[in-house]
């Protein structure tokens, strides 16, 4: 018998159409024929025909308002069975600081489950503890049910956990301070006692530089207390750093002793930061550990255009004017942009555009044993650092 074979492309198109139609039909059939949450109902052995339990609640969210850190509270939610079959309730998962206490009211069962007859109701008590450092609080407790339309119901507890004191910012951080110029940092300390707190003492505890810093604290005006809801007192802390801070890491604690509701306590605000030189290099290609610019191998056919920034701060920043004195390899071109202040002007930014033109000579300055580093030497105009040398790791190839 002779059979005429169909064209392969026709087969593919027909297969795609057939498959697509099959898939859509399957999806539609699944969606319409399968009750909602079939997997859950099947897993729970829930019946979907005949008399059914029906769970109703008035509310599933309780706002407890405010609770102190370490304090606790509880609330009862009512669950009613408006169906015509027993409603079985089981304790489900809870958020980390929530616990579900026993069920109470109509029905039978042990502490972890409850069966509510048709027309009956029960209550479930949710307890919580105010943990952590304070702030908005929201946690859940879940009850599993045999109501096929509501196999689980989540009760949510919300409110505010109020600490005894709070600092804003919680850590005083000063990145990139200048060793040659004074600086200042501020923080606000709020208390939440029943009455306004009294300031006893405020000091900086820091092994290496405490003598270069003065700390003062003043009561905040009432309007400033609005920044911390519920605060009954607030103090503005000011730290003044003199010039001459040692280069490197800053680490200390601002300790403020307060009397709150008759009890004395010490609020400790960590202080951390860095003190760096007045001229620093910043950029995507800047390798901070190696203290070099890494450009890799650049094809002069493709060229290069990348940007670095020299940041100037401290007493001499306004005198900084960069001029290119020397560049190795010779094929690397450096263009200097005019200086621009950043923000309040405590920092001046000067852009350097690095490029490799098509006619650049080849070179290898890849910072290996066989190929020494290149460099960009800049005259700066800075009174203490008249010249800045930036190592460059680059190779210029065809």
């Amino acid at each position: 018998m002779k059979i005429r074979l169909p064209n392969a492309w026709l087969v593919a198109v027909a297969a795609a159409l057939l498959g697509g139609l099959t898939g859509v039909a399957t999806a539609v059939a699944t969606a319409t024929a399968t009750p909602l949450r079939t997997a859950a109902t099947a897993a729970a052995g829930l019946a979907t025909e005949g008399p059914q339990p029906r769970l109703e609640t008035d509310a599933t969210v309780h706002d407890f308002g405010r609770v102190a850190v370490g304090g606790s509270g509880s609330h009862e939610f009512t669950i009613r069975n408006t169906g015509d079959a027993p409603l079985v309730l089981t304790k489900g998962a809870t958020s980390c600081t929530c616990t579900v206490s026993d069920f109470s009211g109509a029905g039978s069962g042990d502490g972890s489950s409850r069966t509510v007859p048709p027309g009956g109701s029960t209550t479930v008590r949710i307890e919580w503890k105010g943990k952590g450092g304070g702030g908005p609080f929201r946690q859940r407790a879940t009850i599993l049910t045999n109501d096929p339309l509501r196999p689980e119901v989540a009760f949510s507890i919300e409110g505010q956990v109020v600490p005894i004191w709070k600092a804003e910012p919680p850590v005083i951080t000063l990145a990139g301070l200048s060793a040659s110029a004074p600086a200042e940092a501020t923080a606000a300390l709020f208390t939440f006692g029943n009455a306004a707190a009294e300031l006893v003492d405020c000091r900086l505890v820091a092994e290496q530089f405490a003598d270069l810093v003065t700390v003062s604290a003043e009561p905040l005006p009432p309007a400033a207390l609005a920044a911390a809801e519920g605060a009954t007192a607030g103090f503005g802390l000011t730290l003044r750093f003199a010039a001459g801070l040692p280069l490197g890491k800053l680490r200390g604690d601002v300790e403020t002793t307060l009397r709150v509701d008759g009890e004395e306590l010490t609020a400790t605000i960590p202080l951390e930061g860095t003190v760096t030189g007045d001229l620093t290099v910043v950029g995507q290609a800047w390798d901070k550990r190696a203290k070099a610019v890494r450009l890799g191998t650049v094809s002069r056919r493709d060229g290069l255009a990348t940007k670095l920034f020299v940041m100037a701060k401290g007493a001499g920043r306004d005198q900084v004017r960069l001029a290119v004195k020397e560049v190795i390899p010779a094929g690397l071109e450096v263009t200097v942009s005019p200086p621009r202040p950043v923000g309040d002007g405590n920092l001046i930014r000067i852009g350097l555009t690095l490029s490799v033109p098509p006619e650049a000579p080849t070179a290898n300055n890849l910072c290996t044993e066989a190929a020494s580093a290149g460099k960009i030497v800049l005259e700066t105009g800075h009174p203490d650092t008249p010249e800045l040398t930036i190592p460059v790791c680059v190779a210029i190839a065809e």
Binding site: A8, R37, A39, R138, A175, A185
Partner: protein, 533 residues
């Protein structure tokens, strides 16, 4: 016999093709074509009934079901959205969950986040991912390395918009720029309307972005609230007032013919609501400063837009699905990043790289220097206690505390070079400052006797006491008694018990041991002297 090859000769009338005979070759071709038909059918059928992206690939049904029961089912009644906005943020340095409660019992982490995004993409959902900011919480070299790692991870996951949180902006400018700036021709996903690294005019990051996804145009911008900007002291960062900066960007976004506009607002909910009221064009507004968990439903703003809270520590993501033309054009789903998502290999590699960097930097490279213990005393190591306190030592040896460091070594990737982990898994560190005390653990090579969470972490440094008891050092009876008394902890008085509880809470804190209750946990480590035989 080969089938005749028919050609058409110019000038001659076309002849009908002669039917080809069936032979072995043709039968083979028929078989292959039928097989192709079946394969195409299967693939097309799969695409036609794509699975809901509610779990990670390779996760067992048992685990999926368990976490659906624990934390809820996802995307019920959604169907396939035109596009979905996946929103994350406030990671606060929790690059992955860990803690003595067990990873499977905790939520969050970049690894699960990647699998969540991949599940939606695999299901054929067009996804645009955005992040509010606050990748880190701390300051110092480890935070810098972590920020770079997280930024790399977010790029790998294909994020389209990432804002800045206050803690991010406390990092040194050179670290931020290195992590955030465009790489080659690939634009940076970081953006902000009012935060400019090295100045707003340096244009390290754009002020906004418009993304086309699923045939929809989605405009994205971010702001840092004025209340949060006040606490940042970083001269290399320019921060403009939020509302005036947003005014400029809002106008540009309006010209972008966007179907949806997203505002990532790192501000208090109150300030965010105020910005949303001033610029009602934003129909999805993400805020910081909410509770630990996001609400189940997105509250509606007076403008008709939706307010999104994300919770803390990156434990949750929020998915907003767009269904234009339907009776519910916007749907939302709070997504717990729990064990149902499994672990993504790419993120595990990234985490391993992060841990290797920490290890290679070492404590000195991370800028960690030992600080004086508040008591001024030095450490002896738990074995020194066993000479006299054999019962207590035996109880300790049988507890999890005695192999705390081993649990870090056995992690994948291992964490025994990570100060944020070491601080509670060895002797002689300040647990909440992640730094060693003088004489505390340095490494297994240098201080093996201080491995694991030992006696002195609760009782205090005991080197002087041990030396006196061994007779290595002569002391008066009064001195001997004083050294003994300094190390005693009692549960017999409320003050004593509170002191003991506070010791435990240094490590069993909300982050790592959220279910901790002293009275429940104490029996497993009870080594009261009265029980000693």
């Amino acid at each position: 016999m080969h089938p005749a090859k028919t050609t058409h000769c110019p000038g001659l009338p076309r002849q009908p093709l002669a039917p080809r005979r069936v032979d072995a070759v043709a039968a083979g071709r028929l078989t292959m074509r039928l097989a192709a038909l079946l394969v195409f059918t299967a693939i097309s059928a799969s695409a036609g009934s794509a699975a809901t992206p509610d779990h990670g690939v390779g996760v067992s049904d048992e685990v999926v079901t368990e976490f659906q029961q624990r934390n809820g089912r996802l995307f019920e009644n959604w169907g396939v959205p035109r596009a979905v906005l996946a929103i994350t943020g406030e990671l606060d340095g929790y690059i992955e969950p860990c803690g003595c409660t067990g990873k499977e019992n905790q939520k969050g982490g970049l690894s699960r986040r990647q699998n969540f995004l991949d599940a939606m993409r695999t299901a054929g959902w067009p996804v645009v991912a955005v992040d509010l900011g606050s990748q880190v919480k701390r300051f110092g070299r480890q935070a810098e390395v972590k920020y770079q790692s997280i930024a790399d991870g977010l790029r790998q996951m294909g994020y389209s918009g990432i804002g800045f949180g206050p803690a991010d902006l406390r990092l040194p400018a050179e670290e931020l720029v290195a992590a955030v700036a465009s790489v080659g021709t690939e634009p940076t996903p970081f953006l902000s309307a009012n935060v400019g690294l090295l100045g707003l005019d340096a244009n390290i990051t754009p002020r906004f972005r418009v993304v086309e996804i699923g045939g929809l145009r989605v405009g994205i911008t971010a702001v840092l609230g004025d209340g949060k900007a006040d606490g940042i002291r970083n001269d290399a960062i320019e921060i403009a007032p939020a509302e005036s900066a947003l005014a400029k960007v809002a106008g540009l976004l309006q010209q972008g013919n966007c179907d949806h506009q997203v505002l990532l607002s790192w501000a208090t909910p109150e300030e965010t609501r105020s910005l949303a009221a001033a610029y009602p064009q934003f129909d999805i507004v993400v805020t910081a400063g909410g509770a630990d968990e996001p609400p189940a439903q997105l509250p509606e703003l007076p403008s008709g837009g939706r307010l999104v809270e994300l919770g803390h520590k990156g434990m949750y993501a929020v998915a907003v699905g767009f269904f234009p033309g339907s009776d519910q054009p916007i749907r939302s789903q709070r997504v717990p990043l729990d064990a149902r998502w499994g672990e993504a290999r790419e993120m595990i590699k990234l985490l391993a790289s992060y841990q290797r960097q920490l290890e290679s930097l070492g404590l000195e490279g991370l800028g960690l220097s030992a600080m004086r213990h508040p008591t001024g005393r030095r450490f002896a190591g738990s074995a020194a206690c066993s000479d006299c306190h054999d019962y207590a030592y035996e109880v300790w040896e049988g507890s999890s505390h005695a192999y705390a460091l081993t649990t870090l070594e056995e992690q994948d990737p291992r964490r025994d070079g990570d100060p944020e982990c070491l601080s509670c898994h060895v002797v002689g560190w300040a647990p909440q400052r992640f730094e060693p005390f003088e004489g505390g653990f340095l490494s297994m090579a240098k201080t093996p006797h201080l491995a694991h969470n030992g006696c002195e972490n609760c009782h205090g440094p005991a080197a002087a006491h041990a030396a006196v008891e061994r007779g290595d050092v002569r002391a008066t009876q009064a001195e001997r008694d004083r050294l003994r008394e300094e190390l005693v902890l009692t549960l017999d008085t409320p003050e004593g018990k509170q002191r003991a509880v506070n010791n435990c809470l240094e490590c069993h804190d909300l982050d790592n041991s959220p279910q901790f209750d002293f009275d429940e946990y104490w029996p497993s480590v009870d080594h009261s002297e009265d029980d000693e035989e």
